[in-house]
């Protein structure tokens, strides 16, 4: 289980995910990787019913979270009744299989849940 990586701008310290070489805030080039980890807060979410054939579920729940570092990310929610503003912890697990390729992605769960 590898953590996903965000970037921190060497010039102004702005955090970006997905990582950026050229900073959106100050326009300078050059950044260092930082792991996308720790507690996160749920910004918004939706249950999606109209899914591609890559998914066998009747619906999936996806949401946008904000980490304490300020980085935001989208991921799958392993939460039954999500609420905006709730605290979540992050882990990495498969999210989609296309052909023989399985992609790993960010998952979010209530802190203290077994998967996290």
């Amino acid at each position: 289980m590898t953590a996903f990586t965000a970037s921190v701008c060497r010039s102004c310290g702005a955090v970006a995910y997905p990582p950026r070489r050229r900073c959106r805030a100050c326009g300078k080039t050059g950044s260092d990787p930082v792991p996308l980890e720790g507690k996160a807060t749920l910004v918004t979410f939706t249950r999606v019913y109209n899914l591609s054939l890559a998914f066998e579920e009747r619906y999936i729940t996806v949401g946008i979270v904000e980490f304490q570092s300020g980085a935001r990310a989208l991921g799958r929610l392993a939460v039954d009744e999500p609420e905006i503003g709730m605290e979540l912890s992050c882990y990495v697990a498969p999210v989609r299989t296309v052909g023989y390729e399985t992609y790993e992605g960010l998952w979010f769960e209530r802190p203290g849940s077994p998967a996290a």
């Binding site: 997905p18 249950r47 109209n50 591609s52 996806v62 949401g63 946008i64 935001r72 989609r96 992605g105």
Partner: protein, 393 residues
């Protein structure tokens, strides 16, 4: 830059292309626009707007194919791809070509044949424009991004599912008077939300958005012929001018936007179009907005400057955006009911406004409009093209 005029418009009926290929629908719309323009000679430049021919129809080189099909040799030709804003981009590039003086005439035709694949494949195809690593792999679709946007927007401004349904009801009603519309069926508040069978007939697609909050998957094409003032005057056609255009971009991944209830690219693109035209939102008599999802008509009506932020749904509720209201929006039926063949949409919006400005919109004609506006929304708002069109004389 010199002025650009629209002297020809044409489109197919939106819906199902059936036996017609993508090239067939493009040809039909283009031929109607060229016939309408009545030019004595061939156009000098051709711009074809399309998003998915490579994925959906296994086709490329549409610009060249169009010149060949219509025998427009030796016109210059390109294909323009900018996601669901491909149509707006192609009209903008056409206006730049004429405006720069590089050419005197240009044909812009946009089209898509999406029903060549199944519904979920079409949804998945549109989803390929989302961020590949940060969005697409999660199974995120455009309805999913719209659902997350709608949840926050509705909470913040007190927009209810009934308000969303009002957009659908209005636009379906408008489409009844548009023979080119994909869906010609009225819907009611009761049927969409309140009857017990509503959960079956109008299920959730991406909460809080239901099926009737989403545009259909459509085939179709739309075209305009653009020209210099000199050519336009010679044509004897009503003078419809591209008074202003504006385009703006935003982050690829939606989560990176500081305020996820803002559509910054819509605001900037609209401001740029109004500045170029020397007009303000209050001057607009008729508008076509990109209601791929009902929530977007409300949000765009505010970002474009027609209503204060957070009050678009109140204007809607009061009937201000219906035909006969203060600012009729999506008289064509919008993407919601006219349909949304992605590459065609931006061109179709311009066709609709040009028809109103010329007084040729048939049963749905808005009374004597002088200024019209369009907003073509690419990605989930990461690339937006707006136009201000004006009737002269």
């Amino acid at each position: 830059m010199r002025d650009t005029y629209i002297i020809g418009v044409g489109m197919t009926k939106f819906g199902r292309a059936g036996d017609w290929t993508l090239i067939d629908v493009l040809e039909y719309a283009a031929a109607r626009a060229l016939e309408d323009a009545g030019l004595g000679e061939n156009v000098e430049s051709v711009f074809v707007a399309n998003m998915g021919a490579g994925i959906l129809n296994r086709l490329s080189g549409l610009g060249s194919a169009m010149v060949d099909r219509l025998c427009l040799f030796p016109a210059a030709a390109e294909t323009v791809e900018n996601g669901p804003a491909s149509g707006g981009s192609a009209v903008k590039i056409g206006a730049m070509a004429v405006g720069s003086g590089a050419v005197d005439t240009a044909l812009v035709v946009g089209g898509e044949v999406m029903r060549a694949v199944t519904g979920w494949e079409a949804t998945d195809f549109v989803a390929t424009l989302t961020h590949p690593e940060a969005e697409y792999i999660y199974g995120v679709t455009l309805p999913a991004l719209a659902g997350m946007f709608a949840r926050l927007y509705m909470d913040k401004y007190g927009v209810t599912p009934e308000h969303l349904a009002m957009v659908a009801i209005k636009n379906h009603e408008n489409a009844m008077k548009n023979p080119d519309a994909h869906i010609q069926q009225t819907v009611t508040m009761e049927g969409l939300l309140h009857r017990p069978e509503a959960v079956v007939n109008n299920p959730y697609v991406a909460e809080p958005l239901r099926m009737f909050d989403c545009c259909p998957v459509s085939d179709g094409a739309a075209a305009v012929v653009l020209c210099s003032r000199e050519v336009a005057e010679r044509s004897g056609k009503p003078l419809v001018r591209i008074a202003g255009f504006g385009q703006a971009t935003d982050t690829h991944a939606v989560h990176e936007r500081e305020d996820p209830t803002e559509l910054a690219a819509v605001r900037t693109a609209a401001e740029r179009a109004f500045a170029m035209a020397g007009r303000k939102p209050a001057d607009v008599d008729v508008a076509e907005l990109h209601d791929a999802f009902t929530i977007l008509e409300i949000a765009q009506s505010e970002e474009a400057g027609f209503f204060e932020r957070g009050t678009g749904h109140i204007a809607l509720e009061k009937g201000e955006t219906r035909p006969g209201g203060r600012l009729p929006i999506n008289v064509s039926g919008g993407l919601k009911a006219r349909g949304h063949p992605v590459g065609a949409t931006g061109v179709a919006q311009v066709v609709e406004i040009a028809r109103h400005l010329r007084g040729e919109a048939g049963e749905r004609q808005i009374e004597k409009p002088r200024v019209g506006f369009t907003c073509n929304f690419g990605g989930f708002g990461n690339n937006v093209v707006c136009f201000v069109l004006e009737r002269e004389g």
